[in-house]
Amino acid sequence: MTSTVPVAAPELEEIEGTSLWRDAWRRLKKNRMAVAAAAVLGGIVLFCVAGPLFVPYSFDEQNLEYGARGPSAEHWFGTDLHGRDLLVRTMYGGRISLAVGLAATLVSLTIGVAYGAIAGYFGGRVDAIMMRVVDVLYTLPFMFVVILFLVLFGRSIVLLFVALGAVSWLTMARIVRGQVLSLKQSEFVDAARAAGVRDLAIVFRHLVPNALGPIVVYATLTVPRVMLEEAFLSYLGLGVQPPMASWGLLVSDGANNMMLHPHLLIFPGLLLTLTLFSLNFLGDGLRDALDPRMRT
């Protein structure tokens, strides 16, 4: 072979392969469960965001004569003990719950992934110090932190986001660190180092993408966990307060009255469960779709 090697002629079009994301999208579309889950999730988001526009009640409008009725033509989901329309309260509750879930997941994806990946890659003392910080934050009682925040900054919904975000990235950091610890032994990492690729580029271009499977799965598990934590906080009076609503709050209300008024539990509970199921299926589908080796 000599220097007469022809440079690829333009008519030799590249065999179509695609970017990781376009490829992943194509594979995701083939996964029926994941597509169905995504559709359900989309429907739920639309229901919560746009729904209240089409319901002639507001979330805090009481009608005490009309308390705790079952579903009817006027109130599709029935009314709660104070005679508020449950349909519109479920929509508003969904907004809060979805927002909390989304925010906490974004925090855990950005801080948790970067933190864990850097600790795992650099190892040694850097790793030891960074992970001890995580351990310390783990040991702080969650409630204690939230109450401290409340005392310092006063009560607000923003605080709820901050508090949940602050704890949601810890486990993600540990998971990513563990993945990176094993991935950094790979020869492709040595190859990148030998080629002169910078450390941070190795972390974010080689290690994080290869840890994407566990990251996506854990992220989809974070959403339901955070929703339940929000419910717990609200129940204690530290989160969302009536007349505002969240799914967690509605479900715990409903659970208190399930013997007499089962619809109070069934409707918000159904939506919460549907959301969590969809997230799990979508997470599974994403994990498979993001792995180029799964290509069929």
Binding site: M1, V7, F188, V197
Partner: protein, 341 residues
Amino acid sequence: MLGRVMEEASTARPLVEVEDLRVHFPVYRGTVLKRKAAVVRAVDGVSFAIARGETLGLVGESGCGKSTTGRALMRLVPVTSGNIRFDGEDLLSLRGEVLRRKRRHFQMIFQDPYGSLDPRMTVFDIVAEPLLAHGMGGPDLRDRVQSMLERCGMNPRYIRRYPHEFSGGQRQRVAIARALILEPSFVVCDEPVSALDVSIRAQVLNLLVELQRDLGLTYLFIAHDLAAVRHVSDRIAVMYLGRIVELSPAAEIYRRPAHPYTQALISAVPIPDPRAEADRQRIVLEGDVPSPLAPPRGCRFHPRCPRFASLGAVQKARCREEEPLLRVLGDGRQVACHHVD
């Protein structure tokens, strides 16, 4: 080829000079209070030089430190002591950004083409990455990647494919393209064909030889058996337990191996002639390789040496006490044994 190389070697300075290289890995014990429990002497005093355009073969059993030597030359493992000079420059004094910039002059081809290519990157991304890392991108990046792939025997239309879509041989071609795209002058080939099917080994070896000739490369060619390096190497170094026991021109090492360990290795290579094969005298070594945690005193090979048994008491004592150094025998042969003339 050999003659030209030897000629150049005598006049010009070697491209790579290694002096008393040692790579020791500490072994820690205890979970909370870590203490150094032992030291694995993976590479323990290795010296050699490689001339420009030359191929030095490096052979030895698994665990003898040959891969670690290659990785140390690439600055991928921390070096305990010794000296590495690349093109006259002290490689071990380089740090951080200076070292990173320097890396484009020496590259490595790894053993396992299944592990050395990032499964989430396309062939294009893999081969282009070194160029981008050194700010050598530019508008003709795609053309350069494609022509390098073509040069390595890959269809350049496959640049959007992922590694798992290729066979082992094709992947190794991608790995070779990645190593050579920076136009390095020195390449460490760490058992580049041992993970491949026997049927395609020769193809890849021929490709490496061809590229060396065309691009004027200098190779350190690591392998665990002599047969693989015989045809590509100008000189061959045999390692045992972290040290070089013999370093001779490739033809000489076959014709008259000097060190008892080399003799045993050569005797294990089958001869492709049934009659000669039937008469082949095999030297079978007793026992296992001692642990590099605690290499034997004196000559590291003496507990397994077939010649040791026939020596007199005084000579035996010397083997047990005094570590033999590489000494020149003439004809360019170097051997580390007290009892070879």
